[in-house]
Symmetry: C2
Subunit: 327 residues, 2 copies
């Protein structure tokens, strides 16, 4: 029996070899009826694409790897789940599939890189949760492994392609809204100093207050993320405040609870516009996660083709207003 | 230069070939310092495992595919995200990685099966959201593609391995709790008849009421999932009720809102113990998703080895009590 090739399939289906290739690699770009005809030919002839042969031909595995974040309190972690949904949705039409891995810190993630690169033929990585002194990007860059990051290279030069959301712009927007609705004693509930994202969110609040000629000193408090920790941290500060910008929805939920329990009214704005914020009526800064994920896939194409120099894209967040910030 | 093989790497690292293989396939089972030594040898010798060759040797790609569900209201969809976290966590120590795909219905999912099977060497699929007349399982079974399902084969014979959570037991448990705390007019807010999961959740409520000699007639209402739809659907029913069991947390949140707005007190229990339920104090039935996901990976090993006949495992849910069901 003669060997079944893409050419044999193309001949039987009455299409070009490129069309057969498209059906195999990017079926989304092929019209439904053409796709059905090619698949009929593939099945009738018993054609089975050889992944290894295809990779040798194209130099591509069409697999990209991304870390799935630990399932924390189900509130802030859900942001990266939404990014993952966006990435998977955008990858398929571009001819890629997403492979998952887990890791608890940089060291474990780099060990996983090694394991994945020796065991699977991966085209690229999409890294999330970039941070100061991020050992992952230099490790990949030194070995010539293609990658893009969702998150800028905090404190490191812009030598790779990345997509990020302007965190400082988000809290600045929230602070301006509170100023515009008559609040003057606007506090900030954030994370301990040192995290790029957390510091940027604090800066957006501080610089907006300063630009309005208002003092921020003594109006901010830092604590590990969480509802309970947020409620405890803000309790003493509440009598001095009429509004509060928070670095996360979890912290904001804690602040809302503390305000309710103390009977001290306080407008509260969270960050990330999670499902919980929608349900409890918490105003929150929203990141365009679907757009950012699609952009990561776009940038990857340039990285893999070496067709473009590294590019960086910063998205603007938006502010979603609800009951927690009465006008 | 002589070809670098697993044997060469093993010799340099002073370990067995099996240990090198473990570092490549299941690094988690190798001690940290041994792993470091093997990786040093791999890097020094420039060894690069050939995925294609490895597959031909083992007949395994060590890749399994699972659908990522659309991001709906961020409440009920989060259950399958939690399942995905559990699956990814359990896959790695077993030597597997998880690849994602999306699909909006059975037809599109089967088209995606075809595309994935011709373009990637996949070992198996893990299917979620099984339902009556599920075309996906028979399609895979006819082609001899290994799979397990999270969800039983509603109305079809148990010819494949599956893991499920006993939905009826969950609502029965909720109903018994309400009976035990003195409620007598216990309603049910569920989905339109026809979905296996939804019908089972309704049955658990109905059979528990019947066993207690209480009438359920006229105390249930069915509506598409959602907070707003739940609130609207239950408004007319509330005056007849002192408690309500719901098929989802979204419906339960709608019921809580309707009860608050009508001023009619009503104990409410949701289903799935989502992050939102924890935050707003909604009692809810909790599925052991991490355990179910790990069990799917265990069953897959048997399916891939053809070492065991199909197995089926039904997990018991548990009831998490919060403010929405005052004692």
């Amino acid at each position: 029996m003669p060997k079944v090739t893409i050419a044999t399939v193309a001949e039987r289906a009455g299409v070009s070899r490129q069309t057969v290739s498209n059906v195999l690699n990017t079926p989304e770009v092929v019209r439904e009826e053409t796709r059905a005809r090619v698949i009929e030919a593939i099945e009738a002839l018993g054609y089975r694409a050889n992944q290894a042969a295809r990779q040798m031909r194209t130099g591509r595995s069409r697999l990209i790897a991304v870390r799935i974040e630990p399932d924390r309190d189900g509130i802030n972690g859900s942001v990266l789940d939404r990014f993952l949904h966006g990435l998977t949705d955008a990858a398929a039409p571009a001819g890629y599939r997403v492979m998952l891995y887990t890791a608890t810190d940089d060291t474990e993630e780099i060990a996983t890189f090694e394991s994945l690169l020796t065991s699977y033929d991966l085209d690229a990585f999409v890294l999330t949760s970039t941070h100061h002194g991020d050992a992952r990007t230099s490790w990949l860059a030194e070995r010539g492994v293609p990658f893009v990051t969702f998150g800028r290279p905090w404190g490191a030069p812009d030598t790779h392609s990345w997509v990020d959301v302007d965190n400082a712009a988000g809290t600045a927007m929230a602070t301006r809204h509170l100023l515009g609705t008559g609040h003057r004693r606007i506090g900030f509930l954030g994370w301990p100093a040192g995290s790029g994202v957390g510091d940027a969110r604090r800066d957006g609040w501080a610089s907006t207050l300063a630009a309005a000629g208002l003092p921020g000193t003594g109006l901010d408090v830092a604590v590990e993320d969480g509802i309970d920790s947020g409620a405890a941290a803000v309790a003493d500060l509440l009598p001095s405040l009429d509004a509060l910008v928070c670095a996360s929805d979890s912290l904001a939920l804690g602040a809302l609870r503390a305000a309710r329990e103390s009977g001290h009214p306080c407008a509260v704005i969270g960050f990330d516009d999670t499902a919980v914020a929608r349900v409890v009526g918490l105003s929150s800064v929203s990141q365009p996660l679907t757009e950012a994920a699609a952009c990561c896939i776009d940038l990857l194409a340039g990285v893999l083709d070496r067709s473009a120099p590294p590019r960086q894209l910063l998205f603007e967040p938006s502010l979603v207003l609800r009951h927690s910030t009465p006008l």
